[in-house]
Symmetry: C2
Subunit: 323 residues, 2 copies
Protein backbone atom coordinates (compact mmCIF):
# COMPACT_ATOMS: atom_id res chain seq x y z
CA UNK A 1 0.00 0.00 0.00
CA UNK A 2 1.31 3.43 -0.97
CA UNK A 3 0.92 5.78 1.98
CA UNK A 4 -0.30 9.17 0.81
CA UNK A 5 -0.36 12.55 2.50
CA UNK A 6 -2.50 15.47 1.38
CA UNK A 7 -1.13 18.97 2.01
CA UNK A 8 -3.97 21.48 1.91
CA UNK A 9 -7.61 20.57 2.38
CA UNK A 10 -9.67 22.78 0.08
CA UNK A 11 -11.65 21.61 -2.98
CA UNK A 12 -8.59 19.95 -4.50
CA UNK A 13 -7.60 18.23 -1.26
CA UNK A 14 -11.11 16.87 -0.81
CA UNK A 15 -10.99 15.68 -4.42
CA UNK A 16 -7.75 13.83 -3.68
CA UNK A 17 -9.34 12.18 -0.65
CA UNK A 18 -12.25 10.99 -2.85
CA UNK A 19 -9.88 9.74 -5.56
CA UNK A 20 -7.85 7.76 -3.01
CA UNK A 21 -11.05 5.97 -1.94
CA UNK A 22 -11.20 4.55 -5.49
CA UNK A 23 -7.64 3.15 -5.61
CA UNK A 24 -6.81 -0.40 -4.52
CA UNK A 25 -3.11 0.28 -3.93
CA UNK A 26 -3.03 3.62 -2.12
CA UNK A 27 -4.32 4.86 1.20
CA UNK A 28 -4.65 8.24 2.80
CA UNK A 29 -2.31 8.36 5.82
CA UNK A 30 -2.57 11.99 6.94
CA UNK A 31 -3.92 15.38 5.93
CA UNK A 32 -1.84 18.48 6.63
CA UNK A 33 -3.40 21.89 6.98
CA UNK A 34 -2.47 25.45 7.87
CA UNK A 35 -5.78 25.80 9.67
CA UNK A 36 -6.30 24.58 13.22
CA UNK A 37 -6.42 20.79 12.68
CA UNK A 38 -9.47 20.54 14.93
CA UNK A 39 -11.42 22.70 12.47
CA UNK A 40 -10.94 20.19 9.63
CA UNK A 41 -13.29 17.22 9.27
CA UNK A 42 -12.40 14.56 6.73
CA UNK A 43 -14.76 12.21 4.87
CA UNK A 44 -12.49 9.26 5.73
CA UNK A 45 -12.65 7.87 9.26
CA UNK A 46 -9.52 7.46 11.37
CA UNK A 47 -7.12 9.54 9.32
CA UNK A 48 -5.19 12.14 11.35
CA UNK A 49 -5.35 15.84 10.48
CA UNK A 50 -2.09 17.54 11.41
CA UNK A 51 -0.65 21.00 11.30
CA UNK A 52 1.45 21.57 8.20
CA UNK A 53 4.32 22.49 10.55
CA UNK A 54 4.36 18.89 11.75
CA UNK A 55 5.01 17.44 8.29
CA UNK A 56 8.73 17.18 8.99
CA UNK A 57 8.12 14.61 11.74
CA UNK A 58 6.11 12.39 9.36
CA UNK A 59 8.74 11.65 6.70
CA UNK A 60 8.85 7.97 7.70
CA UNK A 61 5.09 7.50 7.35
CA UNK A 62 4.32 9.09 3.97
CA UNK A 63 5.47 7.70 0.60
CA UNK A 64 4.17 10.62 -1.43
CA UNK A 65 2.63 13.98 -0.60
CA UNK A 66 -0.06 15.45 -2.83
CA UNK A 67 0.29 19.22 -2.74
CA UNK A 68 -3.17 20.76 -2.96
CA UNK A 69 -2.31 24.41 -2.37
CA UNK A 70 -2.74 27.18 -4.93
CA UNK A 71 -0.19 28.09 -7.60
CA UNK A 72 -0.11 31.81 -6.81
CA UNK A 73 0.97 31.78 -3.17
CA UNK A 74 1.07 28.29 -1.67
CA UNK A 75 3.10 26.13 -4.02
CA UNK A 76 6.06 28.47 -4.67
CA UNK A 77 6.76 28.28 -0.91
CA UNK A 78 5.38 24.89 0.20
CA UNK A 79 6.55 23.04 -2.92
CA UNK A 80 10.32 23.22 -2.35
CA UNK A 81 9.95 22.85 1.45
CA UNK A 82 7.94 19.64 1.13
CA UNK A 83 9.88 18.27 -1.86
CA UNK A 84 13.02 18.34 0.30
CA UNK A 85 11.28 15.96 2.71
CA UNK A 86 8.84 13.88 0.63
CA UNK A 87 8.14 12.63 -2.84
CA UNK A 88 5.58 15.15 -4.10
CA UNK A 89 3.07 15.72 -6.85
CA UNK A 90 1.39 19.05 -7.58
CA UNK A 91 -0.74 20.90 -10.10
CA UNK A 92 1.31 24.09 -10.42
CA UNK A 93 -0.55 25.74 -13.29
CA UNK A 94 1.02 29.11 -13.95
CA UNK A 95 2.32 28.23 -17.44
CA UNK A 96 4.77 31.13 -17.67
CA UNK A 97 6.43 30.34 -14.34
CA UNK A 98 6.74 26.58 -14.85
CA UNK A 99 10.44 26.57 -15.88
CA UNK A 100 11.43 28.60 -12.79
CA UNK A 101 9.28 26.42 -10.52
CA UNK A 102 10.77 23.29 -12.08
CA UNK A 103 14.26 24.56 -11.31
CA UNK A 104 13.40 25.32 -7.67
CA UNK A 105 11.74 21.93 -7.20
CA UNK A 106 14.65 20.17 -8.90
CA UNK A 107 17.10 21.74 -6.47
CA UNK A 108 14.95 20.82 -3.48
CA UNK A 109 14.25 17.21 -4.52
CA UNK A 110 17.74 15.82 -3.96
CA UNK A 111 16.75 12.40 -2.58
CA UNK A 112 13.09 12.59 -3.60
CA UNK A 113 10.99 12.84 -6.75
CA UNK A 114 8.76 15.85 -7.41
CA UNK A 115 6.25 15.55 -10.27
CA UNK A 116 5.12 19.09 -11.02
CA UNK A 117 2.30 20.63 -13.03
CA UNK A 118 0.11 17.58 -13.38
CA UNK A 119 -3.64 17.90 -13.62
CA UNK A 120 -5.40 18.49 -16.94
CA UNK A 121 -3.91 21.76 -18.19
CA UNK A 122 -1.03 21.62 -17.55
CA UNK A 123 -1.12 17.83 -17.43
CA UNK A 124 -3.29 15.72 -19.74
CA UNK A 125 -3.64 18.52 -22.30
CA UNK A 126 0.15 18.97 -22.29
CA UNK A 127 0.59 15.24 -22.92
CA UNK A 128 -1.76 15.48 -25.90
CA UNK A 129 0.08 18.50 -27.31
CA UNK A 130 3.42 16.67 -27.11
CA UNK A 131 2.11 13.33 -28.40
CA UNK A 132 0.11 14.77 -31.28
CA UNK A 133 2.91 17.14 -32.26
CA UNK A 134 5.37 14.25 -32.40
CA UNK A 135 3.00 12.26 -34.63
CA UNK A 136 2.02 15.16 -36.91
CA UNK A 137 5.05 17.46 -37.07
CA UNK A 138 3.59 19.36 -40.02
CA UNK A 139 0.54 20.81 -38.30
CA UNK A 140 -1.03 23.13 -35.77
CA UNK A 141 -2.16 22.84 -32.15
CA UNK A 142 -5.37 24.36 -30.84
CA UNK A 143 -6.49 24.43 -27.22
CA UNK A 144 -10.05 25.40 -26.26
CA UNK A 145 -11.12 25.81 -22.64
CA UNK A 146 -14.64 25.30 -21.35
CA UNK A 147 -17.46 25.18 -21.05
CA UNK A 148 -16.51 25.83 -17.47
CA UNK A 149 -16.12 28.15 -14.55
CA UNK A 150 -13.00 30.33 -14.54
CA UNK A 151 -12.08 31.35 -11.00
CA UNK A 152 -9.84 34.17 -12.21
CA UNK A 153 -12.56 35.73 -14.33
CA UNK A 154 -15.20 35.22 -11.63
CA UNK A 155 -12.93 37.08 -9.21
CA UNK A 156 -12.49 39.89 -11.74
CA UNK A 157 -16.29 40.27 -11.88
CA UNK A 158 -16.51 40.35 -8.09
CA UNK A 159 -14.09 43.27 -8.06
CA UNK A 160 -16.50 45.49 -10.04
CA UNK A 161 -18.32 48.15 -7.99
CA UNK A 162 -21.96 47.20 -7.41
CA UNK A 163 -21.34 43.46 -7.87
CA UNK A 164 -22.25 41.36 -4.86
CA UNK A 165 -21.27 37.99 -6.29
CA UNK A 166 -20.68 36.49 -9.73
CA UNK A 167 -19.63 33.48 -11.78
CA UNK A 168 -18.00 33.51 -15.20
CA UNK A 169 -18.18 30.65 -17.68
CA UNK A 170 -15.60 30.35 -20.44
CA UNK A 171 -17.34 28.89 -23.49
CA UNK A 172 -15.62 27.73 -26.68
CA UNK A 173 -17.26 29.19 -29.79
CA UNK A 174 -18.85 26.35 -31.79
CA UNK A 175 -17.91 27.94 -35.14
CA UNK A 176 -14.25 28.08 -34.13
CA UNK A 177 -14.32 24.46 -32.91
CA UNK A 178 -15.93 23.34 -36.17
CA UNK A 179 -13.43 25.26 -38.27
CA UNK A 180 -10.55 23.55 -36.46
CA UNK A 181 -12.19 20.13 -36.63
CA UNK A 182 -12.60 20.49 -40.41
CA UNK A 183 -8.82 20.46 -40.72
CA UNK A 184 -8.76 23.85 -42.45
CA UNK A 185 -5.99 25.11 -40.10
CA UNK A 186 -7.57 28.49 -39.32
CA UNK A 187 -5.55 31.17 -37.52
CA UNK A 188 -7.46 31.86 -34.28
CA UNK A 189 -6.68 33.96 -31.22
CA UNK A 190 -7.96 33.17 -27.72
CA UNK A 191 -10.53 35.96 -28.26
CA UNK A 192 -11.82 34.36 -31.45
CA UNK A 193 -12.06 30.95 -29.80
CA UNK A 194 -13.92 31.81 -26.59
CA UNK A 195 -17.03 33.56 -25.33
CA UNK A 196 -17.28 34.95 -21.79
CA UNK A 197 -20.63 34.28 -20.14
CA UNK A 198 -21.14 36.16 -16.87
CA UNK A 199 -23.83 35.65 -14.21
CA UNK A 200 -23.86 38.61 -11.88
CA UNK A 201 -25.70 39.30 -8.60
CA UNK A 202 -25.91 43.10 -8.26
CA UNK A 203 -25.99 45.03 -5.02
CA UNK A 204 -29.40 46.43 -4.15
CA UNK A 205 -30.21 49.56 -6.17
CA UNK A 206 -27.04 49.22 -8.26
CA UNK A 207 -27.14 50.61 -11.82
CA UNK A 208 -27.08 47.52 -14.03
CA UNK A 209 -26.15 49.44 -17.16
CA UNK A 210 -23.09 50.86 -15.47
CA UNK A 211 -22.05 47.44 -14.12
CA UNK A 212 -22.37 45.81 -17.53
CA UNK A 213 -20.38 48.59 -19.19
CA UNK A 214 -17.65 48.39 -16.57
CA UNK A 215 -17.35 44.62 -16.92
CA UNK A 216 -17.02 44.82 -20.68
CA UNK A 217 -14.22 47.35 -20.32
CA UNK A 218 -11.99 45.27 -18.01
CA UNK A 219 -8.81 44.86 -20.01
CA UNK A 220 -7.36 41.38 -20.71
CA UNK A 221 -10.25 39.60 -18.96
CA UNK A 222 -13.25 40.87 -20.94
CA UNK A 223 -12.52 43.94 -23.09
CA UNK A 224 -11.53 42.10 -26.27
CA UNK A 225 -13.93 39.20 -25.86
CA UNK A 226 -17.51 38.65 -26.84
CA UNK A 227 -18.91 39.04 -23.31
CA UNK A 228 -22.45 38.28 -22.21
CA UNK A 229 -23.75 39.60 -18.88
CA UNK A 230 -26.87 38.20 -17.19
CA UNK A 231 -28.11 39.59 -13.90
CA UNK A 232 -29.52 37.06 -11.46
CA UNK A 233 -30.54 36.87 -7.81
CA UNK A 234 -28.37 35.54 -5.03
CA UNK A 235 -30.70 32.56 -4.77
CA UNK A 236 -30.35 31.73 -8.49
CA UNK A 237 -26.58 31.90 -8.15
CA UNK A 238 -26.63 29.48 -5.23
CA UNK A 239 -29.05 27.07 -6.91
CA UNK A 240 -27.80 27.05 -10.49
CA UNK A 241 -24.19 28.15 -10.42
CA UNK A 242 -22.62 26.54 -7.35
CA UNK A 243 -20.90 23.72 -9.28
CA UNK A 244 -17.40 23.71 -10.68
CA UNK A 245 -17.82 22.16 -14.11
CA UNK A 246 -15.06 22.60 -16.64
CA UNK A 247 -13.46 20.96 -19.62
CA UNK A 248 -11.95 21.75 -22.95
CA UNK A 249 -10.33 20.24 -25.98
CA UNK A 250 -6.93 20.00 -27.60
CA UNK A 251 -6.63 19.56 -31.35
CA UNK A 252 -3.74 18.77 -33.62
CA UNK A 253 -4.48 19.16 -37.29
CA UNK A 254 -1.81 18.32 -39.78
CA UNK A 255 -0.96 16.91 -43.16
CA UNK A 256 1.00 13.71 -43.77
CA UNK A 257 1.24 14.39 -47.51
CA UNK A 258 -0.01 16.96 -49.98
CA UNK A 259 -3.24 15.00 -50.36
CA UNK A 260 -4.09 13.95 -46.82
CA UNK A 261 -5.11 15.89 -43.74
CA UNK A 262 -5.38 14.27 -40.31
CA UNK A 263 -7.22 15.52 -37.21
CA UNK A 264 -6.51 14.45 -33.62
CA UNK A 265 -8.81 15.66 -30.85
CA UNK A 266 -8.81 15.14 -27.09
CA UNK A 267 -11.63 16.51 -24.98
CA UNK A 268 -12.78 16.59 -21.39
CA UNK A 269 -16.30 17.23 -20.07
CA UNK A 270 -16.00 17.55 -16.32
CA UNK A 271 -18.79 17.95 -13.80
CA UNK A 272 -16.23 18.73 -11.11
CA UNK A 273 -12.95 20.35 -12.06
CA UNK A 274 -11.26 19.88 -8.64
CA UNK A 275 -12.31 16.22 -8.33
CA UNK A 276 -11.00 15.42 -11.80
CA UNK A 277 -7.75 17.36 -11.31
CA UNK A 278 -7.24 15.48 -8.04
CA UNK A 279 -7.80 12.16 -9.83
CA UNK A 280 -4.96 12.99 -12.21
CA UNK A 281 -2.77 13.95 -9.24
CA UNK A 282 -3.46 10.61 -7.55
CA UNK A 283 -2.50 8.63 -10.70
CA UNK A 284 0.67 10.73 -10.94
CA UNK A 285 1.39 10.17 -7.23
CA UNK A 286 1.58 6.44 -7.97
CA UNK A 287 4.09 7.14 -10.77
CA UNK A 288 6.07 9.44 -8.48
CA UNK A 289 6.63 6.60 -6.02
CA UNK A 290 7.72 4.32 -8.89
CA UNK A 291 10.21 6.88 -10.24
CA UNK A 292 11.56 7.53 -6.75
CA UNK A 293 11.99 3.81 -6.14
CA UNK A 294 14.17 3.66 -9.25
CA UNK A 295 16.32 6.51 -7.97
CA UNK A 296 14.93 8.94 -10.56
CA UNK A 297 15.13 11.91 -8.20
CA UNK A 298 14.55 15.59 -8.93
CA UNK A 299 11.71 17.46 -10.61
CA UNK A 300 9.77 15.52 -13.23
CA UNK A 301 6.72 16.20 -15.37
CA UNK A 302 4.01 14.15 -17.06
CA UNK A 303 6.33 14.11 -20.08
CA UNK A 304 8.82 11.93 -18.18
CA UNK A 305 6.43 9.19 -17.02
CA UNK A 306 5.96 5.89 -18.89
CA UNK A 307 2.19 5.29 -18.89
CA UNK A 308 2.39 1.93 -17.08
CA UNK A 309 3.62 3.82 -13.99
CA UNK A 310 0.25 5.58 -13.72
CA UNK A 311 -1.77 2.39 -13.34
CA UNK A 312 -2.07 0.03 -10.37
CA UNK A 313 -2.27 -2.92 -12.79
CA UNK A 314 0.65 -5.13 -13.74
CA UNK A 315 2.34 -4.34 -17.08
CA UNK A 316 1.46 -7.70 -18.68
CA UNK A 317 -2.16 -7.32 -17.62
CA UNK A 318 -2.25 -3.85 -19.21
CA UNK A 319 -0.69 -5.20 -22.41
CA UNK A 320 -3.22 -8.04 -22.56
CA UNK A 321 -6.29 -5.98 -21.78
CA UNK A 322 -5.63 -2.48 -23.07
CA UNK A 323 -3.10 -2.63 -25.90
CA UNK B 1 20.69 11.92 -37.67
CA UNK B 2 18.86 8.69 -36.91
CA UNK B 3 19.34 6.32 -39.84
CA UNK B 4 16.08 4.53 -40.61
CA UNK B 5 15.33 1.43 -42.66
CA UNK B 6 11.89 0.50 -43.96
CA UNK B 7 11.10 -3.20 -44.34
CA UNK B 8 8.20 -3.63 -46.73
CA UNK B 9 7.12 -1.04 -49.28
CA UNK B 10 3.34 -1.14 -49.52
CA UNK B 11 0.94 1.60 -48.37
CA UNK B 12 2.42 1.63 -44.88
CA UNK B 13 6.03 1.71 -46.12
CA UNK B 14 5.23 4.61 -48.44
CA UNK B 15 3.56 6.36 -45.50
CA UNK B 16 6.73 5.90 -43.45
CA UNK B 17 8.81 7.36 -46.27
CA UNK B 18 6.51 10.43 -46.35
CA UNK B 19 6.62 10.79 -42.56
CA UNK B 20 10.43 10.68 -42.55
CA UNK B 21 10.46 13.59 -45.01
CA UNK B 22 8.82 15.68 -42.24
CA UNK B 23 11.34 14.89 -39.48
CA UNK B 24 14.43 17.05 -38.86
CA UNK B 25 16.36 14.34 -36.99
CA UNK B 26 15.77 11.17 -39.03
CA UNK B 27 16.62 10.11 -42.54
CA UNK B 28 15.66 7.17 -44.69
CA UNK B 29 18.79 5.08 -45.30
CA UNK B 30 17.42 2.04 -47.13
CA UNK B 31 14.21 0.28 -48.12
CA UNK B 32 14.06 -3.51 -47.97
CA UNK B 33 11.63 -5.48 -50.07
CA UNK B 34 10.77 -9.06 -50.94
CA UNK B 35 10.05 -7.97 -54.49
CA UNK B 36 12.79 -7.57 -57.08
CA UNK B 37 14.44 -4.32 -55.88
CA UNK B 38 14.49 -2.98 -59.44
CA UNK B 39 10.69 -3.06 -59.48
CA UNK B 40 10.42 -0.65 -56.55
CA UNK B 41 10.60 3.10 -57.15
CA UNK B 42 10.82 5.37 -54.11
CA UNK B 43 9.65 8.98 -53.80
CA UNK B 44 13.00 9.91 -52.20
CA UNK B 45 16.02 10.27 -54.50
CA UNK B 46 19.26 8.42 -53.83
CA UNK B 47 18.00 5.91 -51.26
CA UNK B 48 18.93 2.29 -52.05
CA UNK B 49 16.24 -0.39 -52.42
CA UNK B 50 17.61 -3.74 -51.32
CA UNK B 51 16.40 -7.28 -51.12
CA UNK B 52 15.11 -8.15 -47.65
CA UNK B 53 17.65 -11.02 -47.64
CA UNK B 54 20.42 -8.41 -47.62
CA UNK B 55 19.25 -6.78 -44.38
CA UNK B 56 21.79 -8.77 -42.36
CA UNK B 57 24.68 -7.01 -44.11
CA UNK B 58 23.29 -3.57 -43.21
CA UNK B 59 23.29 -3.76 -39.40
CA UNK B 60 26.01 -1.12 -39.19
CA UNK B 61 24.08 1.39 -41.30
CA UNK B 62 20.60 1.33 -39.78
CA UNK B 63 19.73 2.61 -36.30
CA UNK B 64 16.12 1.46 -36.40
CA UNK B 65 14.04 -0.60 -38.81
CA UNK B 66 10.37 0.21 -39.35
CA UNK B 67 8.56 -3.05 -40.08
CA UNK B 68 5.80 -2.33 -42.57
CA UNK B 69 4.63 -5.87 -43.29
CA UNK B 70 1.21 -7.25 -42.41
CA UNK B 71 0.26 -8.74 -39.04
CA UNK B 72 -1.19 -11.96 -40.41
CA UNK B 73 1.77 -13.40 -42.31
CA UNK B 74 4.74 -11.01 -42.47
CA UNK B 75 5.40 -9.81 -38.93
CA UNK B 76 5.24 -13.15 -37.07
CA UNK B 77 8.17 -14.26 -39.23
CA UNK B 78 10.03 -11.06 -40.13
CA UNK B 79 9.60 -9.48 -36.70
CA UNK B 80 11.81 -11.80 -34.65
CA UNK B 81 14.33 -12.18 -37.51
CA UNK B 82 14.83 -8.45 -37.86
CA UNK B 83 14.62 -7.70 -34.12
CA UNK B 84 17.61 -9.97 -33.60
CA UNK B 85 19.61 -7.67 -35.91
CA UNK B 86 18.11 -4.19 -35.54
CA UNK B 87 16.13 -1.99 -33.24
CA UNK B 88 12.61 -2.32 -34.64
CA UNK B 89 9.19 -0.76 -34.48
CA UNK B 90 6.04 -2.34 -35.87
CA UNK B 91 2.25 -2.08 -35.92
CA UNK B 92 1.35 -5.68 -35.10
CA UNK B 93 -2.40 -5.31 -34.68
CA UNK B 94 -3.86 -8.70 -33.95
CA UNK B 95 -5.03 -7.88 -30.41
CA UNK B 96 -5.49 -11.48 -29.30
CA UNK B 97 -2.00 -12.54 -30.39
CA UNK B 98 -0.13 -9.57 -28.92
CA UNK B 99 1.11 -11.35 -25.74
CA UNK B 100 2.56 -14.25 -27.78
CA UNK B 101 4.13 -11.86 -30.29
CA UNK B 102 5.57 -9.78 -27.45
CA UNK B 103 7.21 -12.87 -26.01
CA UNK B 104 8.74 -13.89 -29.33
CA UNK B 105 10.05 -10.38 -29.95
CA UNK B 106 11.38 -10.13 -26.41
CA UNK B 107 13.41 -13.31 -26.88
CA UNK B 108 14.77 -12.11 -30.24
CA UNK B 109 15.69 -8.58 -29.10
CA UNK B 110 18.61 -9.49 -26.85
CA UNK B 111 20.87 -6.53 -27.68
CA UNK B 112 18.21 -4.46 -29.41
CA UNK B 113 14.92 -2.77 -28.63
CA UNK B 114 11.69 -3.81 -30.34
CA UNK B 115 8.66 -1.53 -29.90
CA UNK B 116 5.65 -3.58 -30.96
CA UNK B 117 2.02 -2.80 -31.76
CA UNK B 118 2.33 0.92 -32.23
CA UNK B 119 0.07 2.76 -34.63
CA UNK B 120 -3.35 4.03 -33.56
CA UNK B 121 -5.20 0.89 -32.45
CA UNK B 122 -3.22 -0.72 -30.97
CA UNK B 123 -1.14 2.35 -30.23
CA UNK B 124 -2.61 5.78 -29.52
CA UNK B 125 -6.01 4.32 -28.58
CA UNK B 126 -4.30 1.90 -26.19
CA UNK B 127 -2.45 4.80 -24.57
CA UNK B 128 -5.76 6.60 -24.06
CA UNK B 129 -7.39 3.51 -22.55
CA UNK B 130 -4.53 3.11 -20.06
CA UNK B 131 -4.24 6.81 -19.21
CA UNK B 132 -7.96 7.42 -18.82
CA UNK B 133 -8.46 4.22 -16.84
CA UNK B 134 -5.70 5.25 -14.42
CA UNK B 135 -7.33 8.67 -13.93
CA UNK B 136 -10.92 7.41 -13.65
CA UNK B 137 -10.72 3.92 -12.08
CA UNK B 138 -14.44 3.91 -11.40
CA UNK B 139 -15.66 4.00 -15.00
CA UNK B 140 -16.07 2.39 -18.39
CA UNK B 141 -14.10 2.38 -21.63
CA UNK B 142 -15.73 2.60 -25.05
CA UNK B 143 -13.96 2.30 -28.40
CA UNK B 144 -15.68 3.23 -31.66
CA UNK B 145 -14.06 2.63 -35.03
CA UNK B 146 -14.72 4.66 -38.17
CA UNK B 147 -15.93 6.24 -40.21
CA UNK B 148 -13.45 4.35 -42.29
CA UNK B 149 -12.59 1.59 -44.70
CA UNK B 150 -12.19 -1.86 -43.18
CA UNK B 151 -9.96 -4.03 -45.35
CA UNK B 152 -11.15 -7.25 -43.70
CA UNK B 153 -14.81 -6.48 -44.35
CA UNK B 154 -14.10 -5.26 -47.88
CA UNK B 155 -12.36 -8.57 -48.58
CA UNK B 156 -15.35 -10.45 -47.17
CA UNK B 157 -17.60 -8.63 -49.65
CA UNK B 158 -15.27 -9.47 -52.54
CA UNK B 159 -15.63 -13.15 -51.67
CA UNK B 160 -19.39 -13.12 -52.37
CA UNK B 161 -20.42 -14.70 -55.68
CA UNK B 162 -21.39 -12.08 -58.24
CA UNK B 163 -19.32 -9.32 -56.60
CA UNK B 164 -16.65 -7.85 -58.86
CA UNK B 165 -15.23 -5.37 -56.36
CA UNK B 166 -16.36 -3.69 -53.16
CA UNK B 167 -15.51 -1.38 -50.28
CA UNK B 168 -16.94 -1.49 -46.77
CA UNK B 169 -17.08 1.47 -44.41
CA UNK B 170 -17.42 0.94 -40.68
CA UNK B 171 -19.51 3.79 -39.30
CA UNK B 172 -20.10 4.52 -35.61
CA UNK B 173 -23.78 5.00 -34.82
CA UNK B 174 -24.37 8.61 -33.77
CA UNK B 175 -26.96 7.63 -31.14
CA UNK B 176 -24.50 5.27 -29.47
CA UNK B 177 -21.75 7.91 -29.52
CA UNK B 178 -24.11 10.48 -28.01
CA UNK B 179 -25.26 8.05 -25.31
CA UNK B 180 -21.66 7.41 -24.28
CA UNK B 181 -20.75 11.09 -24.43
CA UNK B 182 -23.65 11.93 -22.11
CA UNK B 183 -21.90 9.95 -19.37
CA UNK B 184 -24.86 7.61 -18.91
CA UNK B 185 -22.56 4.53 -19.06
CA UNK B 186 -24.71 2.49 -21.47
CA UNK B 187 -23.93 -1.19 -22.08
CA UNK B 188 -23.15 -1.46 -25.80
CA UNK B 189 -21.91 -4.30 -27.99
CA UNK B 190 -19.84 -3.78 -31.15
CA UNK B 191 -23.04 -4.48 -33.11
CA UNK B 192 -24.90 -1.72 -31.31
CA UNK B 193 -22.08 0.74 -31.81
CA UNK B 194 -21.39 0.31 -35.53
CA UNK B 195 -23.14 0.35 -38.89
CA UNK B 196 -21.69 -1.46 -41.92
CA UNK B 197 -21.96 0.53 -45.14
CA UNK B 198 -21.12 -1.48 -48.28
CA UNK B 199 -20.47 -0.21 -51.82
CA UNK B 200 -20.58 -3.11 -54.23
CA UNK B 201 -19.75 -3.42 -57.94
CA UNK B 202 -21.73 -6.43 -59.24
CA UNK B 203 -20.70 -8.70 -62.09
CA UNK B 204 -22.63 -8.14 -65.31
CA UNK B 205 -26.11 -9.70 -65.13
CA UNK B 206 -25.69 -10.70 -61.48
CA UNK B 207 -28.84 -10.89 -59.34
CA UNK B 208 -28.56 -7.93 -56.97
CA UNK B 209 -31.22 -9.25 -54.58
CA UNK B 210 -29.30 -12.47 -54.13
CA UNK B 211 -25.98 -10.64 -53.57
CA UNK B 212 -27.52 -8.35 -50.96
CA UNK B 213 -29.10 -11.27 -49.14
CA UNK B 214 -25.87 -13.25 -49.16
CA UNK B 215 -23.86 -10.31 -47.81
CA UNK B 216 -26.29 -9.77 -44.97
CA UNK B 217 -25.99 -13.42 -43.99
CA UNK B 218 -22.18 -13.54 -43.66
CA UNK B 219 -21.65 -14.48 -40.04
CA UNK B 220 -19.48 -12.33 -37.75
CA UNK B 221 -18.81 -9.73 -40.46
CA UNK B 222 -22.34 -8.63 -41.33
CA UNK B 223 -25.08 -10.97 -40.05
CA UNK B 224 -25.63 -9.29 -36.68
CA UNK B 225 -24.99 -5.74 -37.84
CA UNK B 226 -27.18 -3.10 -39.37
CA UNK B 227 -25.79 -3.48 -42.89
CA UNK B 228 -26.46 -1.17 -45.81
CA UNK B 229 -25.66 -2.31 -49.37
CA UNK B 230 -25.38 0.14 -52.29
CA UNK B 231 -24.64 -1.06 -55.81
CA UNK B 232 -22.35 1.15 -57.87
CA UNK B 233 -20.38 1.01 -61.09
CA UNK B 234 -16.69 0.21 -61.33
CA UNK B 235 -16.08 3.81 -62.34
CA UNK B 236 -17.87 5.16 -59.25
CA UNK B 237 -15.82 2.85 -57.05
CA UNK B 238 -12.60 4.12 -58.59
CA UNK B 239 -13.60 7.78 -58.40
CA UNK B 240 -15.31 7.95 -55.00
CA UNK B 241 -14.02 5.05 -52.94
CA UNK B 242 -10.30 4.75 -53.72
CA UNK B 243 -9.13 6.50 -50.53
CA UNK B 244 -8.24 4.90 -47.22
CA UNK B 245 -9.88 7.19 -44.67
CA UNK B 246 -10.38 5.94 -41.15
CA UNK B 247 -10.65 7.10 -37.59
CA UNK B 248 -12.48 6.42 -34.39
CA UNK B 249 -12.83 7.46 -30.82
CA UNK B 250 -12.01 6.18 -27.35
CA UNK B 251 -14.10 7.27 -24.38
CA UNK B 252 -13.66 6.86 -20.67
CA UNK B 253 -16.69 7.83 -18.64
CA UNK B 254 -16.50 7.64 -14.89
CA UNK B 255 -17.53 9.11 -11.60
CA UNK B 256 -15.18 10.76 -9.11
CA UNK B 257 -17.90 10.96 -6.46
CA UNK B 258 -21.57 10.18 -6.15
CA UNK B 259 -22.41 13.60 -7.53
CA UNK B 260 -19.94 14.06 -10.35
CA UNK B 261 -19.49 12.33 -13.70
CA UNK B 262 -16.48 12.96 -15.92
CA UNK B 263 -16.06 12.22 -19.63
CA UNK B 264 -12.74 11.84 -21.47
CA UNK B 265 -12.76 11.47 -25.25
CA UNK B 266 -10.00 10.99 -27.80
CA UNK B 267 -10.81 10.93 -31.48
CA UNK B 268 -9.08 10.65 -34.82
CA UNK B 269 -10.35 11.73 -38.23
CA UNK B 270 -7.90 10.43 -40.80
CA UNK B 271 -7.89 11.03 -44.53
CA UNK B 272 -5.22 8.36 -44.93
CA UNK B 273 -5.04 5.48 -42.48
CA UNK B 274 -1.65 4.13 -43.68
CA UNK B 275 0.01 7.56 -43.71
CA UNK B 276 -1.18 8.32 -40.18
CA UNK B 277 -0.23 4.88 -38.85
CA UNK B 278 3.21 5.33 -40.39
CA UNK B 279 3.56 8.73 -38.70
CA UNK B 280 2.99 7.09 -35.32
CA UNK B 281 5.56 4.41 -36.22
CA UNK B 282 8.14 7.08 -37.09
CA UNK B 283 7.64 8.90 -33.75
CA UNK B 284 7.97 5.54 -31.98
CA UNK B 285 11.10 4.72 -34.01
CA UNK B 286 12.73 7.79 -32.47
CA UNK B 287 11.80 6.53 -28.99
CA UNK B 288 13.09 3.06 -29.85
CA UNK B 289 16.54 4.45 -30.55
CA UNK B 290 16.46 6.38 -27.25
CA UNK B 291 15.45 3.29 -25.26
CA UNK B 292 18.10 1.20 -27.00
CA UNK B 293 20.76 3.82 -26.27
CA UNK B 294 19.91 3.49 -22.57
CA UNK B 295 20.30 -0.28 -22.74
CA UNK B 296 16.56 -0.86 -22.38
CA UNK B 297 16.59 -3.92 -24.63
CA UNK B 298 13.81 -6.39 -25.37
CA UNK B 299 10.20 -5.96 -26.49
CA UNK B 300 8.53 -2.71 -25.47
CA UNK B 301 5.17 -1.09 -26.13
CA UNK B 302 3.78 2.43 -26.22
CA UNK B 303 3.01 1.92 -22.52
CA UNK B 304 6.74 1.87 -21.71
CA UNK B 305 7.75 5.09 -23.46
CA UNK B 306 8.08 8.44 -21.67
CA UNK B 307 6.47 10.99 -24.01
CA UNK B 308 9.61 13.14 -24.37
CA UNK B 309 11.24 10.23 -26.20
CA UNK B 310 8.71 10.58 -29.04
CA UNK B 311 9.67 14.14 -29.89
CA UNK B 312 12.76 15.50 -31.64
CA UNK B 313 12.67 18.56 -29.35
CA UNK B 314 14.76 18.98 -26.22
CA UNK B 315 13.00 18.21 -22.90
CA UNK B 316 13.31 21.76 -21.56
CA UNK B 317 11.93 23.19 -24.80
CA UNK B 318 8.96 20.82 -24.53
CA UNK B 319 8.37 21.83 -20.91
CA UNK B 320 8.51 25.53 -21.80
CA UNK B 321 6.34 25.35 -24.87
CA UNK B 322 3.91 22.48 -24.35
CA UNK B 323 3.41 21.89 -20.63
Amino acid sequence: MIRVGIAGYGNLGRGAELALLQTPDMKLSAVFTRRAPGDVTLMTQGVPVLSLDKAKSMTGGIDVMILCGGSAKDLPEQGPELAALFNTVDSFDNHTDIPAYLEKMDKAAVQTTAVISSGWDPGLFSMMRLLSGAVLPNGNNYTFWGSGVSQGHSNALRGVKGVKDAVQYTIPKPDAVDAVRSGSNPVLTAVQKHLRDCYVVPDENADLTVIEREIKQIPYYFADYETKVTFITEEELRENHAGMPHGGRVFRTGATSEEHKQVMEFSLKLESNPEFTASVLVACARATVRLSGEGQFGAKTVFDIPLTYLSPADRMKLIKEML
